[in-house]
């Protein structure tokens, strides 16, 4: 069974291929079937392979499709590597992907670019799968760029809108900045190890480097650069909110569930390097912590439903980075998984709402939808709960709690990290429930055009279930103590080292976390149900701050000022190529000479005689001075 691994990325690719080639002729129905079935099959195969993998306790499985290229020492194969880590990602990608496909069938139903949409979506899934299955960094880079391309195409899917195109370009270019760092990282890695095979590197690194080696640190930072770009972390986070220009399913799949977590995957993959570069790893944590805070603050002030979710995504990934930073590898992966579930759910829910109110994004124009679309409401509520980490019932609680606890307790953790995470948690629950209350409670402000159909409901409900029960595969040992995931991952990702004597405080931490989450909800309740006016007062009282947060801490403005404007200025100022002026100058000079000389040709005989005489005189004078 496991030897069918190559089918998993191939199927979606075939789907995409067929859809592209037949785009003009094929019917919507057929397109939908092709689109979903390929992913569905992939998911099915993943299950089977996963089962076999677990059953046979395989360490890892390697499949070489063909040798891509081999030049002087660098031999790169088109080859896949399956181990627990990639398995987890496989699961999430194929399953979430599948349900989002299902959902899209309904969501995109009367869109002109129906086929195109599914083609892109399939292509994306394919690229993402390659990314997580790659056994060498070049192939990973291929997947990495591939998902970038698809995200570009899908953000700009409704291309008539100038601003969508802009958002798409912004996303691609900003991530490309990160990719450049990654590429340079690869060059250095090759320079050191003379291979780009991930396992090779991970095995050799400890032999070659002592912890804290400079080269290791540089490389780790370069990889981090790549990760930061893709996962929309500081300082390259500002593309993600704009990326919401794409259709909601896209935001759900790419900009919440899968692609944006590629950075997490990369760092988790290359954890060996980070173990050897403590400084870099510390910075991973710091970036995570800061990002989760500032993104949370921005989320607090947004009115656009999807933008709230976008910022919350950034901040949740911030949590994952924090986890990675403190060496809580499996915790990061755990949170990634859960986050994929509930964030996809939330986006789909939001999508449904927006779709129902014919593309009304502003949530303050919504409200009272609780009655109109109960299913959506309940599922959305579950998702929100999970995001806000409502204790015990939701999966989000367990995953986030683990991070909080380890931020405190792990050897690499620190109180600061803990405090940041805790504050983040509070903010999260505030903006989450602000969103819920404003959207679903209160009076109905906009008339709902059409209500969601079966397909959408199915997708929503499945994801809802997952984001409830998903958490129970990993329970803290204060109760239950289930460690399925961490056990699974253990062979690949080392378990976290705890600070001495920290164990005792675990219960306490959990209680704090729980209370913080709940108090957040309470606060939101007071602000947006009990006394809505209060929110506006605070908003207006500290207007600057509000504006700053609303504009995502004005990073865009900064980059415009520092990079974009100068670049455009230089290139437009020099449109007519200054270097060319030099050559044209030469030409003019020559022509000038031509003119002057031709003036000497007067046609007057005596002038010619004059010329000859002059020549003669010169020669004669020469002849008097030079002898022999």
């Amino acid at each position: 069974m496991i030897h069918l691994l190559w089918l998993i990325p191939t199927l979606p690719f075939l789907g995409a291929l067929i859809l592209v080639l037949t785009s003009s002729s094929i019917s919507r129905r057929a397109a939908a079937i092709i689109g979903c079935s390929t992913i569905g099959l992939a998911a099915l195969i993943t299950v089977l392979i996963g089962y076999e993998f677990l059953a046979t306790h395989t360490e890892a499985y390697r499949h070489v499709a063909w040798n891509w290229f081999a030049v002087s020492g660098l031999s790169v194969g088109f080859s896949f590597h399956l181990d627990a880590l990639s398995l987890v990602f496989l699961f999430v990608i194929t399953f979430v992907g599948f349900f989002i496909h299902l959902y899209s069938v309904a969501f995109m139903h009367d869109d002109a670019g129906f086929t195109r949409f599914f083609a892109y979506l399939n292509l994306f899934v394919c690229a993402m799968l390659i990314l997580v299955l790659a056994d060498n960094l070049v192939l990973l880079y291929l997947g990495w760029e591939g998902v970038g391309l698809c995200s570009y195409l899908l953000i700009g899917f409704w291309y008539d809108e100038e601003k969508n195109g802009y958002a798409a370009r912004k996303a691609f270019i900003m991530t490309r900045v990160g990719d450049t760092a990654l590429a340079i990282g690869l060059f250095m890695l090759f320079g050191v190890f003379h291979t780009l095979d991930i396992q090779e590197i991970l095995t050799q690194a400890p032999k070659l480097w002592s912890p804290g080696t400079q080269t290791a640190t540089i490389i780790a930072f370069l990889l981090l650069g790549g990760a930061v770009g893709k996962s929309a972390q500081l300082p390259l986070q500002s593309w993600l909110p704009d990326a919401m220009a794409g259709p909601s399913p896209v935001s759900a799949l790419i900009h919440a569930a899968t692609m944006v977590t590629a950075g997490v995957y990369l760092i988790a993959r290359m954890h060996g390097i980070y173990e050897l570069a403590p400084l870099a790893q510390l910075w991973v944590g710091i970036i995570g912590a800061v990002t989760l805070l500032i993104a949370g603050c921005s989320a607090l002030t947004q009115n656009d439903l999807k933008r709230v979710l976008a910022y919350s995504t950034i901040s949740q990934i911030g949590y994952m980075f924090l986890a990675l930073g403190i060496g809580a590898w499996s915790a990061a992966v755990f949170h990634f998984m859960i986050h994929a579930f509930f964030k996809a759910l939330l986006f789909l829910g939001a999508g449904t709402v927006i779709w129902a109110l014919h593309h009304e994004h502003d949530m303050f124009k919504m409200g009272g939808l609780r009655k109109r679309m109960p299913v959506v409401y309940w599922t959305f509520l579950i998702g929100a709960g999970s995001l806000a980490a409502i204790p015990l019932v939701t999966a989000g609680f367990y995953s986030k709690d683990q991070i909080l606890w380890l931020a405190w307790a792990s050897a690499k953790g620190s109180p600061w990290f803990f405090i940041a995470a805790l504050t983040g948690a509070f903010i999260t629950s505030v903006y989450t429930f602000r969103m819920v209350f404003v959207t679903f409670f209160g009076a109905e402000k906009t008339h709902t055009a059409h209500l969601p159909g079966k397909l959408m409901h199915v997708a929503l409900m499945v994801l809802a279930v997952l984001s409830l029960v998903g958490g129970f595969i990993e329970l803290p040992h204060t109760f239950g103590h289930v460690t399925l995931l961490s056990d699974l991952l253990h062979p690949i990702l080392p378990s976290t080292v705890l600070r001495a004597g920290a164990e005792s405080s675990e219960v306490l931490i959990q209680l704090i976390a729980a209370t913080v989450a709940l108090s957040g909800v309470l606060l939101a309740y007071i602000f947006y149900i009990v006394k809505p006016s209060l929110a506006d007062e605070i908003g207006s009282s500290c207007f600057e701050v509000h504006q700053l947060w609303y504009a995502g801490w004005r990073f865009d403005a900064l980059y415009n000022l520092l990079i974009v404007r100068p670049f455009v200025w230089v290139s437009t100022i020099n449109k007519r190529d200054i270097i060319d002026q030099f050559y044209t100058g030469l030409v003019t000079a020559t022509e000038y000479f031509g003119k002057t000389f031709s003036r000497t040709q007067t046609g007057v005989l005596r002038w010619y005689i004059m010329g000859i005489t002059a020549g003669a005189v010169i020669i004669l004078t020469l002849s008097l001075f030079i002898n022999r």
Partner: protein
């Protein structure tokens, strides 16, 4: 012998086509097509017939040496090795399309057009196989005149200016090369009292570093202008934007490559030491070219001009890779020569197709064409992505190898060059946005690609993808050549020259 035939077929075909056109233009086109295809068949035969990679000792697949002007020690010496083979294949591959492209565009003086077209190809093919420096100069010029006519007669509004500019730039640099060739000829002659222009005998000519330096500069002049390297690039945008589609196609696809080829085949092997000495500056020039070209491309509004500047940027990689003196970088360069030929060529084809439809090259007057020309849009997407170096497409292999190879030679420059990829993204996406995306506020009648155009673009698209996924065959073919010209230099990277070449990957 087969080499002579290939060139002869082209020349004869050209003359024949020129004559036949008086009676039937179709026949003329067909003749041109047939003669190139014939060559294509021949070269593919050679390629399939001989597995180059497995014959490490024998680099030379074919070798033809006839006396030509013995009293000068000039011989008609052609030889074929992996690199030349690839280049020839490329030449004929693109040549076929060039004829197809002109099928509708060129209705005026068809015969003379095809005569010129085939003679350009003949000249280029000659450059790729000649092993005699006099002959090199000979072919070098032979490919210019017809090109001059192609631009000057069938070009756009400002064609005369562009044609002059192209001609004079290349001529001036060519003359410098001629001087260098003669210099080398006499240096070698005085040393060994054997006066010959033969490439192989001129290799390892003992000479003082000073002489070598000057002579190499002479050669570089020709090749750098042809490549072109900033600051000698300014003829390119004009030539490209004014030439007819087939013209720009050949220019970008093949003529620039003669420069790169010249570097690899002549400049480096003939003057190993001074080449190494020049290395850091070469890499610097390359990097400057990459960035400068990209920045320039971003602001252009004339589509062909834009693409022209992207070529400048891409050729920067060639420069970078060649002077990194590592096998990997050189492989990257060879790859770049091929992939760039295809991707940029295709972009010019698209520009031509658009011009045929809406009679403008100004991208500000385009936009939102995707709806009406989905096929064209999809194809363009592929090539645009290729030109920004998306993995899975040929250009990625090229640029990746080049950069990775150059890293050991000069991390700093390589890093800057890599950053150039971001700029590349900027201009590439701009192309997509301005032409196919955005609002469609236009009223042109805009049919999608015709069958003939598909016949050109689809194979190229397939080629670029195949090159991206299965490049090994190419790499193997070039291997022997690359190794050889790499061994000419100290395989250790360039001696440190200031900040230009900090040794990379130093691990304690």
């Amino acid at each position: 012998m087969i080499l002579l035939w290939m060139i002869f077929i082209l020349m004869a075909g050209g003359i024949l086509a020129g004559i036949v056109a008086a009676w039937s233009t179709v026949a003329c086109r067909v003749i041109a097509l047939v003669s190139i295809t014939l060559d294509m068949v021949l070269i593919t035969g050679v390629w399939m017939g001989q597995d180059v990679s497995t014959a490490p000792g024998t680099t030379w697949i074919a070798d033809l040496n006839l006396p030509w002007i013995p009293s000068f020690g000039i011989s008609f010496h052609l030889a074929l090795d992996g690199l030349s083979l690839l280049m020839l294949a490329l030449t004929f591959f693109l040549g076929i399309f060039a004829v197809l492209l002109s099928w509708k565009e060129i209705q005026y003086r068809t015969g003379f057009f095809h005569f010129n077209l085939l003679w350009v190809l003949a000249g280029i093919a000659g450059v790729f196989v000649t092993m005699d420096l006099f002959l090199l100069y000979f072919f070098w010029e032979v490919m210019l005149i017809p090109m001059y006519f192609l631009i000057g007669i069938w070009g756009h509004a400002n064609r005369q200016y562009a044609a002059y500019k192209f001609f004079i730039f290349t001529q001036a640099s060519g003359l410098l090369m001629l001087l260098a060739i003669l210099g080398l000829y006499f240096v070698h002659g005085n040393q060994t009292s054997v006066y010959t222009f033969d490439y192989f005998s001129l290799l390892e000519t003992p000479m003082s570093p000073d002489v070598a330096r000057w002579l190499m500069l002479g050669f570089l002049a020709a090749f750098l202008v042809k490549l072109p390297v900033v600051p000698f690039h300014t003829w390119l945008p004009d030539a490209h934007s004014e030439a007819p589609t087939a013209g720009s196609f050949i220019l970008a696809g093949l003529m620039l490559k003669t420069g790169a080829y010249g570097l690899i085949r002549f400049a480096l092997p003939l003057f190993p030491e001074s080449a190494v000495e020049f290395g850091p500056w070469g890499m610097l020039l390359g990097t400057v070219g990459i960035i400068y070209g990209a920045v320039q491309a971003f602001s252009q509004t004339d589509l062909k001009r834009l693409v022209a500047y992207t070529s400048v940027s891409h050729m920067g990689f060639v420069m970078l890779g060649v002077f990194a003196f590592t096998e990997m970088a050189l492989q990257g360069v060879v790859m770049q020569m091929i992939t760039h030929a295809i991707s940029t060529g295709a972009l010019f084809v698209l520009a031509g197709a658009l011009y045929e439809r809406i009679h403008t090259r100004d991208i500000l007057q385009m936009g939102g064409f995707w709806k009406r020309t989905p096929f064209m849009a999809t194809v363009s997407l592929i090539f645009v992505m290729a030109s920004l170096g998306l993995p899975g497409l040929g250009n990625f292999i090229a640029e990746f190898l080049t950069l990775m190879g150059s890293w050991s030679a000069s991390p700093v420059l390589t890093a800057i060059a890599t950053a150039g990829l971001v700029a590349a993204t900027a201009y590439s996406l701009r192309i997509m946005q301005k032409i196919f995306l955005g609002k469609d506020a236009h009223t042109h009648v805009l049919p999608d690609l015709s069958l003939r155009e598909k016949l050109v673009l689809v194979p190229m698209a397939i080629a670029i993808i195949v090159l991206g996924l299965f490049p090994q065959r190419i790499i193997d073919t070039a291997q022997t050549t690359v190794e050889k010209s790499d061994n000419n230099h100290t395989t250790t990277p360039v001696p440190a020259r200031g900040m230009l070449s900090v040794k990379g990957g130093n691990h304690e």
